[in-house]
């Protein structure tokens, strides 16, 4: 038996046949890369429109919240090019586009829940006609007083879901008995996804009430479900396709559905194809963001800075509905420890309802906010005890006898201590910290800061049933291979990695494998491409499908060539039987004439996870992904301006399936996290209207904001200790949290102004926030 046939999992031994070069683990280019540089890769809005396609634009009220008194659409209907105007009353089935818990109408029917909620939609001959007409509505609302921020939400007493808490030990007693007690509050801002391709969907009505959707979505199965329910047809009449997205970042996990529903409704009502492509400002106003938080914390330490007990209250602004807030805020709790051991802990969360857009998934899914508190505590301990923050961090890491998380899972794969030591040495932390101390001693207005922070991120959906997917693999008679799987491509390179894994099974180049567009009629009943799990799930399902076909080929070749099955290997495009080599294409043709199936499905469900939310027991994650980052910054204490001077990242991806793609995820994740914690500020006015709804006012990092000295390395290891696909690890979300080091370094720089005092720095650390913290230390 060749090594790749051993065992039921996909261990390290499965890396192709002995001696055969395969593309598994190779730094090959993204499978659409050449089309991207040519501009020929098609996103939803680039698909050649079927004749008669209508363009749909959403319309909304000026009001923030209150009862809808009247909707006057006469002027809209009379506007040039308008073909149809859609209201909630036009929906034949359920007026609902919520991922699970309800409360998200496709079109408002009696009440406005937030500023920008869609009340009606216009279908017109051109996009300009539709957008112009949408502004002509007169909507009368009996306006209420909106609760805009988390304080107002708490004050109004409305919560989206009941409070939820992890508790281990006796935290209050442990803190009270500690030699040192600290407490504080931290505000953490939200974040706009700013995927470069806005929300988009094209609906094409077909025969027998069928609807075909092209949707820019991370969750085609849910688009299928919600469109079918809205149209009151069986799911079997709706197909959703996603070739690719121009970025998702969580923003198209649940909140792509509304736009697909609107396109489908317009197509249903008019009988014509209909397309929705949100204008950037509408997209930013109408779709949810990363949750912002108010956090109050209290903790105790011993004299060496080791935590004795932690008590944290997280208040999350969820907006007007539940959306994915249950899971998002749970993940805040799961990561409130980051990489640190809390002997006693109470981690309490409230999901606060406000009259604002419903906040949603965003890379890290609540985890980054939880981890920021852990890092704030580390910095606070170091500042108060006048210790090196890295020393404090190391003392608090999980370790032998200190390896149970606040939610009861044992940390079995803890590489954080070794990883931190390696980065500390490689980035020359100690010398640079001394140099910075010397610099700051002489500095007038400019202060430097440095910080090295870890990341530990749990991999699996904490909602257990989402941890499953399927794949469909076809070997064709010319030896080329088609693969379809339940995951979606949003730029992260999922299709490339899946193609690599499948190519390894057949011993061919990855270029021989074509990943076709994600389609719900090829692989049904899938979860979203989210939680960093796209490759873990889909590459494993595809691998299983490929192995099924391969084992049929092995059986055929053994019979035809009278050789032992164990002597048959695949490599170099050939099937090697020990006696002779046959091109894969030839064996595929033989299989066809011998009536052997060359197509197979594959299915994968993540093993070992047992989390039960009701009892808060069990194992939520299959494993943890780790990383560490060291960031050096310079802060101008006169103006609040900040520059990142140097970044060193070391990140654990297990055995990399594609180092180029993994490093891309690490760099991009870091910069996106840096934006969240520095320049990206969502400003709502007192009436709850988003003021920062375009890139002119909402600042994501630009090329000139990113440090020129940017060093990135993959942690070298024998791979994931769990039997993931080729022992790789998930990489989508964890690197975002490497940017916690930026916030911590800024804290360090400001803290040098008044040794021993903790700067009251909130996130994002905009120049204004930095100046406020500086001023507070000067009082």
């Amino acid at each position: 038996m060749p090594p790749s046939e051993q065992g039921s999992g996909a261990g390290i031994a499965a890396r192709g046949a002995p001696g055969a070069e395969t593309d598994v683990g190779a730094a090959i280019a993204h499978d659409s890369a050449e089309r991207h540089v040519r501009g020929s890769a098609a996103y939803v809005d680039d698909i050649r429109e079927p004749a008669g396609t209508l363009h749909v634009a959403p319309g909304y009220a000026e009001a923030t919240c209150g009862r809808l008194r009247s909707v006057d659409l006469d002027a809209v209907r009379r506007a040039p090019g308008v073909v149809a105007v859609l209201l909630a009353s036009d929906i034949p089935g359920a007026n609902e586009c919520s991922p699970s818990l309800g409360g998200d109408p496709v079109l408002a029917d009696s009440e406005i829940l937030f500023h920008g909620q869609v009340v009606f939609a216009v279908a017109a001959a051109s996009r300009r006609d539709a957008r112009r007409a949408a502004r002509l509505a007169r909507i009368d609302v009996e306006e209420g007083a909106p609760a805009v921020d988390v304080e107002a939400g708490v004050h109004s007493g409305r919560q989206i879901l009941p409070p939820y808490e992890f508790r281990c030990g006796t935290p209050r007693d442990a803190i009270a008995a500690s030699p040192r007690i600290h407490e504080g509050t931290l505000r953490i801002g939200g974040q706009e996804h700013f995927y470069l391709e806005g929300q988009a969907a094209l609906a094409i009505p077909e025969e027998a009430g069928e609807m075909y959707l092209h949707s820019s979505t991370q969750h085609p199965s849910d688009v299928q479900r919600l469109v079918a329910r809205m149209l009151d047809v069986p799911l079997a009449r709706v197909v959703c396709e996603c070739r690719r997205m121009g970025g998702g970042f969580g923003g198209k996990e649940s909140q792509a559905a509304q736009w697909a529903c609107l396109a489908a409704l317009a197509a249903h009502v008019t009988g014509r194809p209909a397309k929705v492509c949100l204008d950037r400002d509408d997209d930013m106003i109408m779709t949810g963001k990363r949750h912002d938080f108010r956090v109050a914390y209290r903790f105790g330490t011993d004299d060496e800075g080791r935590l004795t007990g932690v008590d944290v209250d997280f208040d999350a602004r969820c907006g007007c509905s539940a959306d994915l807030s249950l899971g998002v805020v749970d993940r805040t709790m799961f990561h409130a420890d980051n990489a640190y051991y809390y002997p006693h802990a109470r981690i309490h969360t409230r999901r606060v309802r406000t009259d604002t857009v419903s906040n949603t998934a965003f890379r890290g899914f609540g985890g980054p906010q939880g981890m920021l508190i852990a890092e704030r505590m580390m910095d606070e301990i170091a500042i108060r005890l006048r210790l090196d923050p890295l020393t404090v961090r190391k003392r608090n890491l999980y370790g032998p006898g200190r390896d149970i998380t606040p939610y009861g899972m044992r940390v079995r794969d803890n590489i954080a201590p070794r990883l931190i030591r390696t980065l500390e040495r490689d980035c020359d932390y100690a010398r640079r910290r001394r140099d910075i101390a010397r610099y700051n001693a002489k500095a007038a207005h400019l202060r430097k800061g440095i910080s090295l922070t870890p990341v530990k991120f749990g991999i699996a959906f904490t909602l257990k049933h989402l941890n499953q997917t399927g794949a469909l693999v076809h070997l064709l008679t010319d030896g080329s291979i088609q693969v379809n799987h339940g995951g979606t491509e949003m730029g992260q390179g999922l299709h490339t990695k899946v193609a690599q894994v499948v190519s390894g099974e057949f011993g061919v180049e990855a270029a021989r494998v074509r990943i076709t567009a994600t389609q719900t009629d090829k692989v049904p009943n899938t979860g979203p491409t989210a939680a960093s799990s796209g490759t873990d799930l889909n590459a494993m399902a595809a691998l299983r499908a490929a192995r099924t076909i391969r084992s049929r080929l092995v059986a055929l070749a053994a019979r035809l060539y009278q050789v032992d099955r164990a002597d048959i290997t695949f490599g170099g495009g050939q099937v090697n039987t020990g006696r002779r080599s046959v091109p894969l294409a030839e064996l595929a043709r033989l299989a066809f004439t011998e009536r052997v199936s060359l197509s197979s499905t594959g299915f994968y469900a993540t093993p070992k996870i047992t989390w039960d939310r009701d009892t808060a027991t069990g194992r939520p994650f299959l494993y943890f992904a780790y990383g560490a980052a060291c960031t050096e910054v310079t802060v101008d204490t006169m103006t609040g301006e900040m520059r990142v001077d140097r970044v060193d990242l070391l990140h654990d991806v297990g055995r990399s399936l594609n180092p180029a793609i993994d490093i891309g995820q690490i760099e991009g994740g870091f910069v996106q996290g840096m934006g969240w914690l520095t320049t990206e500020e969502l400003v709502f006015d007192a009436r709850g209207r988003l003021m920062t709804h375009a890139p002119s006012t909402y600042k994501i990092p630009a090329c000139s904001d990113v440090p020129a000295d940017f060093r990135v390395a993959l942690w070298e290891s024998r791979g994931n200790r769990e039997p993931t696909v080729h022992r790789s690890k998930a990489v989508g979300e964890p690197p975002l949290m490497l940017a916690l080091s930026v916030f911590s370094a800024i804290t360090h720089a400001i803290a040098t102004l008044a040794p021993g005092r903790v700067p009251p720095l909130d996130a994002p650390a905009t120049p204004e926030a930095i100046l406020r913290a500086v001023e507070a230390l000067r009082d």
Binding site: A33, R38, G39, L196, G668, C703, V706
Partner: protein, 162 residues
């Protein structure tokens, strides 16, 4: 509303189109001429996803009217490669893995090519500020900067990384 009849040159080809007076060049390219490589990222000139060359000058096609193309030359991402053969900048973006979701990529390539046509020896800082009008949400930019610097080095006839 009467449409305007515009005669222009796009990617070297004499081109005619009809457009409304207020229709942007970006909408004309995408909707009338099926040149969908230029993307609408913001429609306000802030993201650079619709970068094209107008008479040799780098512009955001969302801020230019279609009618303004009359009698001028427009170069879009579709005109950057010579048939099968990729332009050096495109090749370097591939080699350096300087893309992820790809929506910003055409704009970056048009902008980077414009820079290197002015100056084959830009400093890294010059590259960063020249490209600061092009937003990318995926890559973190580092690989893009490396790709452009490497393309410049090859243009100057130096070895990669020299």
């Amino acid at each position: 509303m009467a449409k305007l009849h515009i005669t222009t040159t796009i990617n070297g080809d004499a081109t005619e189109f009809l457009c409304e007076p207020e229709q942007t060049l970006l909408d004309v390219l995408r909707d009338e001429l099926q040149l969908t490589g230029s993307k609408e990222g913001c429609a306000s000139g802030d993201c650079g996803a619709c970068s094209v060359m107008l008479d040799g000058r780098l512009v955001c096609a969302c801020l230019v009217l279609g009618a303004e193309a009359a009698g001028r030359t427009v170069e879009t991402i579709e005109g950057v490669a010579r048939g099968e053969e990729l332009h050096l900048v495109q090749r370097k973006f591939l080699e350096h893995h300087a893309l992820q979701c790809g929506v910003c990529t055409p704009g970056f390539i048009v902008a980077a090519k414009a820079l290197l046509e002015r100056d084959t020896d830009p400093s890294e800082t010059e590259v960063r500020y020249w490209l600061a009008g092009n937003l990318c949400r995926c890559t973190g930019y580092d690989k893009i900067v490396r790709a452009v610097l490497d393309a410049a080095a090859e243009m100057r006839g130096e070895e990669a990384g020299a």
